[in-house]
């Protein structure tokens, strides 16, 4: 008995007509595609967690998940009592957010509180201060999790932080005052996003991911050779190859995201899962190790077993 990956979807287009990819539109489109792939209705979703971080308008409330719930039509317009409801909220843990959300939903599935969990993600350019562009590509993702009596599913999770490297990557909104004469009604300034990545961050991500993976597998008394498929979130260019070489994993046991989704940020794990599903390698793997590394430095791991419980 365990939590099963029912469907995964990642995309870089926000729907028909190539509409401007806002964070909401990307997540909405990915969620709809995911539901279509699984043959479910939006109203079947009991819990919807949004794990995306960067939005074009940097909206602070409500949770973006609630807006997405409304967009996809998950349990709207019913009287509260006697109907089927959806509970939505945002979970933020940078590029590790999806794996943290899987852990939360796998728990609620195990306790029987939910029957179907959805995780959505998206990131777009958050109006950066100064020149340059955001270090990621506008991509949205969604995945559905359910309970399967014949499958071990997600059995183990690990999370480690390395706060000695917390200053290597930081982002936040900073107020920038407009200077010069101000016409009536003109904005006094803008709140703009600053993303500060210091030299050495990428190398430390790999170091920390390798260290955390070894500790995680030791705890489970598993060897790397027992991992049939590694699904790493492509936290940065070169991260996946550097990681697999350090862990000694052959390239044919690694899920790489497709070219059109390279540069995905919080959607990274979902994009890699989609690639592994399409290639058939996820279906063949008994033990799949999902891994994400990001700011903090934070490393989150999840073991997914497609074996009997």
């Amino acid at each position: 008995m365990g939590t099963r990956i029912d469907a995964a979807s990642a995309l870089a287009l926000a729907g028909p007509g190539h509409r401007k990819p806002t964070a909401r539109r990307l997540a909405d489109a990915a969620a709809r595609t995911c539901l279509e792939r699984s043959g479910r209705e939006a109203g079947d979703i009991d819990m919807l967690i949004n794990a995306g971080v960067y939005r074009e308008d940097n909206i602070g409330e409500p949770a973006l998940a609630a807006l997405i719930q409304q967009d996809i039509g998950a349990n709207l317009g019913q009287r509260p009592v006697g109907g089927h409801g959806t509970f939505s909220f945002d979970l933020m843990n940078g590029t590790c957010g999806v794996l943290s959300a899987i852990r939360v939903e796998a728990g609620f599935l195990r306790s029987g509180v939910i029957r179907l969990g959805a995780i959505v993600t998206s990131d777009v350019d958050p109006e950066l201060a100064g020149p340059g562009t955001a270090p990621f590509r506008p991509v949205g993702g969604a995945m559905l999790l359910d309970w399967d009596d014949s499958l071990a599913g997600f059995t183990d999770f690990g999370a480690e932080t390395f706060p000695e490297y917390e200053d290597l990557f930081a982002s936040g909104l900073i107020w920038r005052e407009h200077h010069g004469p101000r016409a009536p009604g003109r904005a006094a300034g803008r709140n703009q996003m600053v993303i500060d990545e210091k030299p050495g961050y990428q190398a430390r991500l790999v170091d920390c991911a390798v260290e955390a993976t070894h500790r995680f597998l030791r705890r489970l008394e598993m060897g790397m050779d027992e991992v049939d498929l590694l699904v790493p979130a492509p936290s940065s260019p070169g991260f996946v190859d550097a990681l697999r070489l350090r862990l000694g994993v052959p390239g044919d046991r690694v899920a790489y995201v497709t070219e059109d989704l390279e540069g995905a940020y919080t959607t990274g794990p979902i994009a890699a899962l989609q690639a592994a599903t399409k290639s058939g390698r996820l279906g063949e793997a008994r033990n799949t190790l999902m891994l994400a590394a990001g700011a903090g430095v934070t490393v989150v791991l999840a073991l997914y077993r497609q074996t009997p419980p």
Binding site: P80, H84, G112, V113, P163, G172
Partner: protein, 370 residues
Amino acid sequence: MSETRGTQPGHWLALESPGSGDSSGCRIESVGVKLPSGTLTTRNLMDRTSHRTGIQLERLTGIHERHVVGPGETSLTLAVGAARDCLAHSQHQPADIEMLISTSITRSKGTSWQSFEPPLSLYLKQAIGATRAVNFDISNACAGMLTGVFVLQDFITRGEIGCGMVVSGEYISHLSRNAAKQIRSLYSKQLASLTLGDAGAAVIVERAPGGGPGIDVIGFTTLAEHSRLCLAFPSTVGPGAQMYTKSRTLQKAAIADMAPLVAEVIGEAGIDLADIDYLIPHQTSARAIHQATQEFARRLGARPKHVVVNLEEYGNTSSTTLFVALHKYLEERRIRKGDRVMLLAIASGIEIGIALFTVDDQVERYGHAH
């Protein structure tokens, strides 16, 4: 991991604690609060508006003053202060905390008024020494802290962890400051921003020892058809954010949908509304709380023994209101061992969350300052 009972009564995602005698129930072990150093009266706030508004805010809302941050205080410093206060009232050490969830809407830290990465929970666990805690942030508007408790309750009830902490630090008075520059009349969509005050709050949730009393029922739902009634964005008039609320529509929708949900929860618990000793609702305005209580009485035929309103002194401290109020009543020794308390979260979304719990011997660790 142990299998536990979960229920889906009607619209709710709800967790019932296992019955008496089972050791895997949950309880709120400790609550902590950090109030910022400054205060701002409603009169002083309204004196600062750029336009003559004629709004009698204190009469409308019942808010006389609110606490506001001073130099050097941020969402993070308030959260750290609350977490330390929570530990000071707890029997746990920082190293006992296995999961730490930060639920602030505002995430100011250093020069950034809204920090995105790393998550605030990472800085928090370092600051209090909870170094072995798994951490992440949850954002769910004013229902954030209760959402965190809901998540922790699931981890603890299943036996995956034994003890966790939810923390929120809200430096949110910048919304009032920005609204004061623009608001012109009672009908402004920024009116609700004038009710906000700053505060930090923290709560430790643990496995209830020996089948003792604790959280009886906790549940949540999102009425997303109303998700666009309250929206907050970065401001263009000053540092921080601006919030636009269709207050009357939101209040009407929330009150209409809340009463049957409350009925469902107390039905699950097998009690009557009159059995609730203290109802602690989200603190928005005294008038709204009074109307909601009237509606409950009309529909459910009963009233809780006490409805907690602390707006006069604190205003609406967003995600921390429920635990600031609970802390105050514990410190003043109004809430006693054996009392049944209902926390009622209402937030943009519309998020509705309810937790029903029986107070344990933690009350003995409060009130020494009085």
